[in-house]
Amino acid sequence: MSVLDFSAVVQAWPLFLEGLWLTCLLTAVSCLLGTLLGAACAWGRIQGPIWLKAGLACYVELFRNTPFIIQIFFIFFGVASVGFKMSAIPASLIALVLNLGAYACEIIRAGIEATPKGQIEAAQSLALSRWQIFTRVLIAPALARVWPALVSQLVIIMLASSVCSQISAEEVSYAANFVAGKTFRSFEAFMVVTACYLVLAIFLRKLLLWIGPRFVFGRMKF
């Protein structure tokens, strides 16, 4: 018998496939909503009223300075214990979106603040409203400016979704845990899943870098 035996892992392939599907789903939804939340928060932190600015600053600092696993535990166990019960997948999604929103807010804000002042003055002299300036003048070049940083953050969120297995959301690392617990082929199961994550990370990065200039900030119209 060899030291590494993948037969148990291979037998459980439907489990891994389902897990992979949920990982992709969690990633896709949280990337989309999280980026939107980040852009909205960036708007709030730059142009919002003072109370909104202060509230958003607290939200961003709170989520950027605490571990993701504690955020997800707090949402899944803590918030549920005071009456808002939810199952693992919605709780995972909320945690992922809130976490990404905080990071994306800072990234997008940095992009917006790097906009030359003349652009805003020119837009103001054309009598555009603050909302119009934000959506038509500021956001698209800002996204283009920070896209590589944002893509890195989205890949990090994909990797962070593995932590959702700890609240028994049945994504791919949960499948690994499950197979490991059942067959004691822990190393093999985690090796396979780690390889999956590596491939996903490389693919997601390539995909997002391709999508960005074509669909996100290339032809942004409101």
């Binding site: 590494l4 709170l62 696993i69 504690i70 955020q71 803590g78 932590v163």
Partner: protein
Amino acid sequence: MNSFTTWDVIRNLLLSVPWTLFLSAIAFVGGSVLGLILLVLRIMKPHSLGRAITWYVQLFQGTPLLMQLFLTYFGLALFGLNPSPLLAATLCLSLYAGAFLTETWHGCVMSIPKGQWEASSSLALNLREQLQYVIFPQAVRVSVPPTVGLGVQIIKNTSLASVIGFVELTRTGQIITNVTYDPFFVYGVVALLYFAICFPCSMWGRALERKFTFKH
């Protein structure tokens, strides 16, 4: 049966804070040593070794730390070692930190203008002297703010060591929750404790960044 008062919960959580800091410190020091060695190797031999180091960085940046921890823990057992959670966590977090630090520092060294390399080699400095007297003193200034940021990341990521049974702040929170059935309060306090550790570091990093960018 004795019950946990609020103060008992907070006291026990506070007692586990040193373990989080201890694990972070070892990971940061281990990662720094590893990162520095890899950085120098990468500068010395850009082709053969450089590629292996790039793979190492890609491997650790492209996979979840959670999986890395499990792999280290069970991988050590596969080699016939009986790993304590402390050994597995420090080893894995050091490798993880090393990958991020070497990549960041490599970027900082690359940001030093080429003229500095050429000028120093025209003064007949060898590689060690070049790095010691010309390149590193400048690169260190650039690298301090992102390094502080990575330090905060490492402190936060030590929380994942709880999954292989290392008893630090997060694990203590889980254990206490299992007794008191009050996750809202316990995890709230745990989050605030992490915040109390990380937020000052983040602020310090930001202050350094401001200080160093205005110099140009």
